[in-house]
Symmetry: C2
Subunit: 285 residues, 2 copies
């Protein structure tokens, strides 16, 4: 079985490592615009060899792990090329546009829209790691459009590498990701920007970062190449939730100005319930 990984970064690389462990006879071929990443992946043993897009007719499995704006262009072309029993899945953070663009493709059933909730703020194959997906959710979108035997293979493989599965339609996925993930990134990027603009002394940023800044600003290290297209594709949902966030911040500021500290106390107390949610819910499968 030949597995092609298009975009051999943190996610594509980590998934290749786990699948190769699971199916040792699998041949892993890497494709990437970034020749340095390809060389690193080869040296690290993540891929067996380099490949090119024009070989994809011989692929049995394809992981599409490139920025979402490139996926919407490349996926239809990939489906044009692949053989009848091939399975292509993506790992992108937005799903509506991608599902739409192949909705009427004759080989739609050879595609599975997937979003593993795993990774860090770092990118590139040198950050790929074995077991990254252990205990992590894999969101599958519009999975009824995937051919049942291919879907079944994917579900088994994802579960074998430790993931639990959630099923959503693409629009629901994009809405929830705007709420829980995309807003967090904007919040973090703009926090970092604000502090960089105001704080003249970088030593202060370093010394005082342990007082809360470091964790809230972690996501501001994320790749703009990855995130700009996500915000573009999920623009409506992102604007909607960003507006709600700004409104809450404006309200907080207003209460400060009014000296209404009882109200601020109550807002924070209510928000503390997140602790229970983040600690207490058992995953479904």
């Amino acid at each position: 079985m030949k597995l092609y990984v298009i975009g051999i970064g943190l996610i594509g690389g980590s998934m290749a490592i786990d699948l190769k462990n699971l199916y040792p006879s699998m041949e892993v071929i890497g494709i990437d615009n970034n020749e340095t990443h390809l060389d690193q992946a080869l040296k690290l043993g993540i891929i067996d060899k380099k490949g090119t897009l024009d070989e994809l007719y011989q692929a049995d499995r394809i992981i599409l792990s490139i920025p979402v704006k490139d996926s919407v262009i490349l996926l239809p072309k990939i489906l044009d090329m692949v053989h009848t029993d091939a399975l292509v899945w993506d790992v992108g953070s937005t799903k509506s546009q991608l599902c739409n663009v192949v909705n009427t493709h004759p080989k739609r059933q050879n595609f599975l829209a997937a979003h593993p909730i795993a990774g860090t703020e770092f990118s590139g194959p040198s950050y790929a790691q074995e077991g990254l997906f252990q205990g992590k959710p894999q969101i599958l979108c519009e999975s009824k459009s995937t051919r049942p035997d291919l879907l079944s293979w994917a579900k088994t493989a994802f579960r074998e590498i430790g993931m639990y599965l959630r099923f959503m339609d693409a629009q629901e996925h994009d809405k929830h990701m705007a709420y829980v993930s995309h807003l967090s990134h904007i919040s973090s990027f703009m926090l970092g920007k604000t502090v960089l603009e105001r704080e003249d002394d970088e030593q202060n940023i370093f010394d005082l970062a342990g007082s809360g800044f470091e964790s809230t600003v972690r996501l501001a290290k994320s790749s703009p190449d990855m995130w700009t297209p996500i915000f573009e594709q999920n623009k409506e949902n992102v604007i909607d939730i960003l507006s709600a966030y700004i409104e809450n911040l404006e309200n907080f500021k207003h209460k400060l100005v009014q000296n209404d500290f009882d109200d601020l106390y109550q807002q924070m107390k209510l928000t503390n319930q997140l602790t229970t949610i983040l600690n207490g819910i058992k995953p479904n499968n």
Copy 2:
């Protein structure tokens, strides 16, 4: 030597543990409104016994680790009571009001305004830990107002438990803390509030939290009892930096609406330089 710890929580408790390790003959006495915390601290061996405020005339060293609104009331009374060679230091997150309130006190020189940049979003003596301050900054404010021999004792003790020292005036401290710490907490609390309001399904919050939410919202677990008075005491600086943050978020939203994704890319790219700052600066001492 008798060390009194007023407010035996995460910070006061951790500091007591390290000082007791450093000076084994030191007797550690705990004072707290919260009887459960006192019992825990006694059981955990963090304090040798419980005490009361009316014994403070016999204290040699006092750590004041209670919410900042209580410190401004209690500190003058403590100074009224202590003997000539006693040293009191606080560990609070705001400094201007506290320094002001004892500015003309006849025993001002027995007080040192300190702010250890350490801790987590949790509170209480059960989270106290040995070595918490290792490699962490200790900010000393207006340290010239402290009697030199007492200051010297404190500097040695803080360095011995692993801290490096920074010196600031109280107003500078409060301004920088608003930038780097207090804004982070508001950003995180309001992010948590926004997501709780919009996301009906708690399972989604749990499943998708790994996609960025978990780290940005960590501070929203913080204690409102601690944070409300900090925002109150540092209101002017907090409003100022919160306004700048809201302005950046409004600008981000505007660029989204305008489809100016090149500008968003550039903003994120510039903010990525935080990685270098957070990784690369060596602490002064």
